[in-house]
Structure formats: C-alpha cells, structure tokens
Amino acid sequence: MSDLQYRTIVGLEIHVHLATRTKMFCGCEMAYGVRPNSRVCPVCMGMPGVLPVMNKQAFEYAVLTALALNCSIPSFTKWDRKSYYYPDLPKNYQISQYDLPMSENGFIDIPLESGQVKRIGIIRAHLEEDAGKNTHTLGNFSAVDLNRTGSPLLEIVTEPDMSSPDEVRALAVELQRIVRYLGVSEGDMQKGHMRFEPNINLAITKDGQEYRTPIAEIKNLNSFRALERSVAYETARQLDEFTDRGITMQMGNKSTRGWDDDNQCTVLQREKEEAHDYRYFPDPDLVPVEMDDEWLSRIRADLCEMPIQKQNRFVSEFALSEYDAGVLTQIRSTAELFEQAVALGADPKKACNIITQNFQKIANEKGCTVCELGITPEKIVEMTNMVTIGQISSTSVSSIAVLSVANLSKTLREIAVEHNLIQTSDAGEIEALVDQVIADNPAAVEDVTSGGKKSKKARGFLLGQVMQRSKGQANPKIVAQILAKKLS
C-alpha cells in the first residue's frame, strides 16, 4: 500500500445582505415575505434612462464591516458593470466592483474547538446589488419576483486558509456574530441574509510527491449545515477521484457544483464556456466614492469590541468556561447585559447561569433577545444576590425568571414572596421545625442513628418532613446540616 496524506484547502466567498431600509441604488423598501413585485421601481427593474443613486447607509455599513474584518479602506473606489443574462437580473448586468473594491487585505480570527484561535485572511470585500428570485414551480416556466433585485450585498472573499469543514463552519458562524454585533445585517439564514460559496481542493502527498486536485466551487449554500457537509463531502469525493482515476488540477478544470440537500451530495453544474465572460467595465451612471480620514474615523467610531475578543475576555476576566462565554457573547445586547450586571456587583458565574440557562431559554421560546424580554442588569443583580444569600433555591430560579418576565413592574422579591418561593435560611426557625419532626418520628430517628441499611432512606424522610412543615420554604442545605448535627 502506498503512503498517502492529504490536506483540505478551502476559501470562502460570502454574500451578506445589509440591513438598510431601502435598496442599494433606489428608494424601494427592503421587505421580506411581502407581495411579489410590490417593491420594484423603474431603477431596480432596469428601465432605460433611469439613474441609480448610492445609498449612503449601505456604503457606510460596508465600510464598518470591512473595518471589523481588519481591511484597509482605499481612498478611492468605483462601480463596474458585470454583464450576464438571467431573468432575475432585469438590466442584464449587475452593478458590482471589479478592480478597485471598497476594501481589501484584512483578516478574521475564528475560534476553534480546541479553544485556540485561527487567523483567516480576507482578500477583499466589495459592494454589489443582489438579483431577484426565481421559483421553478410552473413546469416549463419560472416565476420571477424582483423584490430582492437591487438589495445591497457585501461580498467577502477569504484566502484559502481553512483546512476542515469545522473551520469553514466556525468562520461562517463568527462572521454572522460580527455582522449582528455591528448591526449591519440581521444575518438570518432562513431569509437568505448570508449565502456561502466554498472553493475546495486537496493537497495530496503520495509516495513523497505533491499533487493538487481540481478546485470545485459550490454555489449558493444558505445554511451552516449545508456548508459544513458540502465541504466534507467534496473532500471525500476529490480524494476518491484522485485515488481511483488520478485526476489532478489542470488549466481550466475547475468545476462548479451545487449542493443536493435531499441526497446530501454535490452535483456537477454544467456551464457554458463563455459563462465567465462578464465583460466588466466602469458604470457610467455612477460616480466614484472618495473616502477621507474624517469620514473614515466617523465610521470607525461605530466599531465595538468584536465577539471573539469579548468571549476571550469573559474567560480570562470572569473565569467563565469557554462554552459559557461563547453562549453569552452570541448576542451583543445579552453580553452587555451580563457585563452591566457584573459591574453592578453580580457574581459573574451566577449571572451567567441565570442569563444563559433561564432568561435565554424564555427568550428563545419567544423568538427574541433577553434584553427584549425587558430584563435589566438590576434584575440580574437582584436574582444573583437572592441566590447567594440563599433566599431562593436554585430550583425556584427558573420559576421566578418566568414570572418576572410576565410581571416586569414587580421586583423579584415581591414575586418570590407572592408565590411562596422565598426559602428560610434562618437557623433558629429551621431548628424548631427539625426538633418537632424528630419528636414526632422516633422510628425514623432510630433508623438513622442505628446506621443500618435503612439509615439513608430515613434521613431523606426526615428531611422531607421538615421541608413539608416549612411549606417548601426552608433552605434544604441548612435543614440537612441541622438534621445531621442533631442526629449524630
């Protein structure tokens, strides 16, 4: 058997929908799930003689994202026409950027399973307009909806620096977190706000010789799962193709493939040879953009701490686990809620548990964020303090969380009192109850003190009796301590 080793090489193109109110070059509303062809005007449907005008917000969102991706922002950028014929592209060209993109040469740090961070290069990020949407439900015909036509898209192109499906997924997830932190995109996969196109091939070493397999580009993936699986599938497929037929990279044997989700495999897409003859040229309808230091620093002022930095800081500063810090920093407002609560004196670990295990669960059920539930840092502080001093048991935290969301105007203490969820930690009060129970249950006391087989069960029974007499409000930890002392 021959000695064979291989390494997967993946670069990504990502299209991110920017969260502007209107389209890139006209005032049509950006709306999802509305009546087809109801957000269309002469500009975005490509009527002759119309004049596109740049959306300033879209441009600034694009620059902000590029800054977050550590890109340099040239002082001059321009628009080009990319020509192709497709029914969802009514002008027969797409307004895009070719040789002078609005940003280039950046990087993104992605968290790996191992807890380490890997730096992936960004070649460029440029602005362009999206096409419309085709649906293929009409037999020999397609139905075209132009509502999406002209939406602002940021296309981000990475270096081929990723080497596994996990890393590709990590980059996609990290980018989603970044655009959401910045507020430049909702990053909603279901709504197609992020679309991925991985370029994949293998570097194979066999019997001391290096080979490369032909690059395959997988088009239009719109879920993290499809992205991850398609890279894994393509790795295996290219390895087979190499070992079975010895196929290696040649001029012009790059292929385009699609992801077949039903059969969980990639499928070769037939392309005509002139498909990539896009005949780019400067768009005469649009004037260039010049970026000066003053404008750039105004945009830069909107940058915030990036999620991965926040996550690492939560681990080092508050001793949270990598996992907890990851969950907490998923949404910027939730991470900030946590930080504010800690700044007000909440215990970090308890605050983290209360947010991630209780309020986050409620928020997920309601499809909103923890902050949108109306939960304030003060509430988190109150809750952690009540747990710390033993006023409420850790089991009643979740009920209090649910009740507090439904009664935002009440303090947590009021809610806990109202629903008998305050537990007694008063040793004197508890001791009196323990004495009563011991007096009333001599048989069980005997079982405990004789230390036989029944001892453990009898101890549990006595504890249960005390809890019952306290109507569930005694702190069980303290009950157990006092019981143990009395029965030793």
Binding site: T20, R21, T22, C26, G27, C28, E29, R35, P36, N37, S38, R39, V40, C41, P42, M45, V53, M54, N55, K56, Q57, A58, F59, F76, K78, S83, Y84, Y85, Y86, P87, L100, N134, H136, L138, G139, N140, F141, S142, A143, V144, D145, L146, K219, N220, G258, Q269, E271, K272, E274, A275, D277, Y278, R279, P282, P284, L286, V287, P288, V289, E290
Partner: protein, 102 residues
C-alpha cells in the same frame, strides 16, 4: 490585412449579447467593428505613461442619497409590460442552469 475583429469574434460577442445575426450581418459587423477599432487605435500613438486612468468622465464623486423609503410602482404597473405573468410573478421560460449567464 486581417480584420481586427474577425467573424468568430463577432459571433461570440453576438451570442453573449443574445443577438441573432445572419451570415451577411456577421460579415458586415466584422467590417464595421474592425474599422471602429482601427480608428480608436489611433489613440495608442499618444504617450499616456504619466496619465492616471480615468474611472469616470465627470469630475464628481460621492453622490449619495439617504436611506429613506420612496414609493415603489404598483404590482400592476410593474407587470404591465410583461409578455407573460403568473399571478404576481413574471412568467419566463424555465431557467436551466443557475447564474451561468448562458
């Protein structure tokens, strides 16, 4: 002298532009386009080494609009010129391969 734009190139460009040309037209365009290209090649006689490439012919930049919603057309207006429609959609011959442009 060989033509600057031969008939193969004319056929290719016509195909990219979705134009159907007969043989006479192909020959005609080959002659016409070649003379245009030859005419423009006169510019190569100029020394442009120290001239910045021109991105736009107007001395204007940064023309923006605010991100404010303007009324769109009505669905009926949008579809008024459509050769065929299906409910609120444009109805077009089935698209076989995705974004191939061919």
């Amino acid at each position: 002298m060989a033509k600057k734009i031969d008939e193969t190139q004319v056929r290719k460009v016509a195909k990219l532009a979705r134009l159907q040309l007969d043989d006479a037209e192909v020959a005609q365009f080959s002659t016409d386009l070649s003379s245009i290209v030859e005419y423009i090649e006169k510019l190569n006689e100029l020394d442009t080494d120290s001239v910045e490439p021109l991105a736009h012919c107007l001395p204007v930049h940064n023309v923006f609009r605010d991100d404010v919603v303007k009324p769109s057309l009505t669905v009926e207006q949008v579809l008024a010129n459509a050769p065929q429609r299906a409910d609120d959609f444009f109805k077009v011959p089935k698209i076989l391969d995705d974004n191939s442009g061919a």
